[in-house]
């Protein structure tokens, strides 16, 4: 085990996979000389050179499209998009091309492409650099969607993503880049997609949290235990496609109560989708309506005070959990 920051874990994943397979390369805005706008690609240019660490112009749709074309031509590109909001400029290539090509051409080609992007609020970057678009990507058949919350998962999932033959949207959280954690060492320490992590076991309520909200959910669980005698089970799905619904359902069948927490918007969100799946398949096990805790339904405001008000915090998750337990607490 090594203790790494999440950004270092991501870099190590790329470096290891680039050493393992010379067809893996990185391209994006300022990934080379500048070392990445969040320093995730630090040192890669020195080790691998300009052929494999390629600075691009500000042309998101074309960068992603070139990644798709290069993947069709036999390479395994990792495209970095500077901020999740900029990925909207590349939605044509992501949706109409990367996701659709394997299907619409009857499986003649695959698109082994990884598109990495950081999102989320907390740095006062305002309404065009701080959003959470997991739900938008989750909706698209043909894509895999990863959203790691720990350094170990960041590394293991990114390695799995690079090795996978499907197009992967890899969503990182800006405020987690500095998070330290234990990371298993070894080239083949991959984290398979579609396997949720149970971060904390509990019997009273299931809390599902993604990205930074997996952390927030654990803080809330601690408060619930300390102050309310409630044992919450915290699940981090780690990937949204494939989704390990089985682990979530198993937990819900045990606790009979569910809270879903995400930073994204409330309408058509990850929680909306998950709530539908849970009620569809574990309706008889639910003792209370499913609670969702989401970001506020506004473009992310700049003011620190307003931004913090627009992001879910542990106290919101605690109240939501207590809401599901209303009437059953001693």
């Amino acid at each position: 085990m090594a203790t790494l920051r999440l950004r270092e874990a991501l870099r190590d994943a790329m470096a290891e996979e680039m050493r393992r397979d010379e067809n893996v390369f990185v391209m994006g805005e300022d990934v080379g000389v500048f070392q990445g706008s969040f320093k995730v690609t630090e040192g890669l240019l020195d080790e691998f050179g300009e052929k494999r660490v390629r600075d691009t112009p500000i042309s998101e749709n074309t960068i992603v499209g070139m990644g798709v074309g290069a993947a069709m031509g036999g390479l395994r590109p990792i495209v970095e998009i500077m901020t999740v909001n900029f990925a909207l400029l590349a939605m044509d290539q992501i949706v109409n091309h990367a996701a659709a090509i394997p299907y619409m051409f009857g499986g003649q080609v695959s698109v082994p492409l990884v598109v990495r992007m950081p999102g989320g609020g907390g740095h006062q970057l305002g309404p065009t650099h701080s959003h959470s678009f997991e739900a938008m990507f989750l909706q698209i058949p043909g894509l895999l969607v990863a959203c790691p919350s720990t350094p170990a998962d960041a590394k293991g999932l990114l390695k799995a993503a690079i090795r996978d033959d499907n197009p992967v949207i890899f969503i990182e959280h800006e405020t987690l880049y500095g998070l330290r954690g234990e990371v298993p060492e070894g080239d083949d320490e991959v984290v398979d997609f579609g396997e949720a992590a149970i971060r904390r076991e509990g019997s009273d309520v299931t809390i599902v949290g993604i990205l930074r909200m997996a952390e927030t959910a654990q803080q809330a669980a601690q408060t619930l235990a300390n102050e309310h005698g409630v044992e919450a089970e915290v699940i981090d799905p780690r990937t949204l496609r494939p989704l390990d619904l089985d682990t979530i359902l198993e937990s819900v069948r045990k606790t009979n109560r569910t809270v879903i927490v995400e930073e994204g918007w409330p309408h058509g969100g990850v929680g909306t989708n998950l709530a539908a799946l849970i009620q569809g398949q574990a309706f008889d096990h639910l003792d209370a309506p499913i609670e969702r805790v989401t970001g506020a339904d506004v473009p992310m405001p700049y003011s620190k005070r307003m931004e913090q008000a627009a992001i879910p915090h542990a106290e919101h998750v605690v109240s939501a959990a207590l809401q599901t337990l209303e009437g059953s607490l001693q």
């Binding site: 070139m66 074309g69 091309h97 394997p102 009857g106 579609g194 799946l277």
Partner: protein, 410 residues
């Protein structure tokens, strides 16, 4: 009209001393080549006419974009490409695939939405694709294929091959953001790609002078590092010569160029086009310089082919197209249990995918998918290349027994 300004890069290509002095008027090719060029153009014409007829009979659905009138641009280009070069186009590309060697029956079957279609009925007219012949698609998004072309060229360059990518698109695509972004990147990274704008004078129903401030499209990428030339896209020999030279520039000099080929589609933008934006007279004027009739007349005049030869070529095309329709008619509809095939590549590092299919009253499909993933892994361990049908067969053979724990895979 703009096509009167037509010129080619012939001077550069045919100047042995490298002075770029203009060379003599291009000679017609030998009999075998002439026969092949004319044969392909006639075949594409007949195929497109028949596709239009089948569309009216509702055998083909959706939109149908026919390339009648544009055959010389297509065939002139593909005839000078190597087998390992990539060709990529937009959505008027039945002919491009056929010219690359795709069986016309498979293209027709795709229009009919049948299993033997190039995409097994998942793509339709706008999304023809044939990896075997390196026809890298038909795409429904105008300009969306340009970044893909640059990416294919990047892969060739990265892998150290001397393959070239030829990217064909319409005049309308020259206004898309992708055009500027891709030209800049292709030039910046010295990619071996030839961009060819098939200027048929209309972006759907909007005439080029009404959609592009700069109507000399060959110059439109010059400021982005991609120089261009114009060529008469109705003249198969002129197209051949120009494309030959530009492929050479891409292959040997490692730099992208742009060719603007003037061509014309006789039919509407799609089958649903009332053609209110142009005069019948204009269509007739272009038809007088029809790429097939003018080439055939030249060949007969120069005694390279006889009138009988030309008739034979027409008869052959007729037979091929009749057989293509028969092939498509006899091809079955895609089975509905293949609806999810090819959506994901299963196996390897990802054990399976979880479909989110809420229409099913059964248990969540995730469970099935996970098992399929495990079986795929075992299949792979036994040396079989994984494909969905094999997994299905294995599932049946095993009587759908529960799986072993996933721990045994690492």
């Amino acid at each position: 009209m703009a096509q009167s300004k037509t010129k080619t890069a012939r001077g550069v290509s045919e100047s042995p001393d490298g002075t770029g002095k203009a060379a003599a008027k291009p000679k017609l090719p030998d009999e075998a080549t002439s026969r092949e060029l004319l044969g392909l153009m006639v075949l594409i014409r007949r195929f497109e006419e028949e596709a239009g007829r089948q569309y009216q009979r509702a055998k083909a659905g959706g939109f149908l974009h026919l390339a009648i009138g544009e055959e010389a641009t297509i065939v002139g280009t593909t005839s000078v490409m190597r087998d390992d070069d990539y060709l990529i186009g937009t959505y008027r590309t039945h002919g491009h695939a056929i010219a690359r060697g795709t069986h016309p029956g498979r293209v027709m079957a795709e229009l009919f939405g049948r299993v033997d279609g190039t995409s097994g009925g998942r793509g339709g007219s706008m999304h023809i694709f044939d990896l075997e012949h390196r026809f890298m698609g038909g795409y429904g998004i105008v300009g969306g294929n340009l970044p893909l072309a640059a990416g294919l060229a990047l892969s060739s360059d990265y892998l150290g091959t001397d393959e070239v990518t030829v990217c064909m698109f319409g005049d309308g695509a020259s206004n898309s953001g992708n055009f500027g972004e891709t030209m800049n990147l292709a030039a910046l990274w010295s990619l071996p790609v030839v961009f060819l704008v098939e200027n048929n004078l209309y972006g759907m129903g909007t005439a080029v002078e009404r959609h592009s401030a700069v109507t000399d499209l060959s110059q439109k990428a010059d400021g982005l590092g991609v120089p261009g030339v114009r060529v008469d896209g109705m003249d198969v020999i002129a197209v051949r010569e120009t494309v030959t030279e530009h492929i050479r520039i891409a292959r040997e000099e490692r730099r992208p160029t742009l060719i603007e080929a003037f061509t014309y589609r006789y039919r509407g933008h799609s089958a649903a086009d009332p053609e209110v934006y142009r005069e019948k007279k204009e269509v007739e004027e272009w038809q007088r310089k029809d790429p097939i009739e003018s080439f055939a007349a030249q060949l007969i005049k120069e005694k390279i082919l006889s009138e009988e030869d030309v008739q034979e070529i027409r008869d052959e095309a007729e037979e091929t197209v009749t057989a293509a329709v028969e092939f498509a008619d006899n091809s079955p509809e895609p089975p509905l249990d293949s609806l999810y095939d090819h959506l994901y590549v299963l196996g390897d590092q990802v054990p399976g995918w979880y479909g989110v299919d809420e229409r099913s009253p059964d248990s969540h499909p995730a469970e099935e998918e996970r098992r399929a993933g495990e079986r795929a892994r075992r299949l792979a361990e036994h040396g079989a290349a994984y494909a969905a049908p094999e997994a299905q067969a294995l599932r049946e053979a095993e009587g759908d027994q529960p799986d072993t724990a996933p721990e045994d895979v690492h």
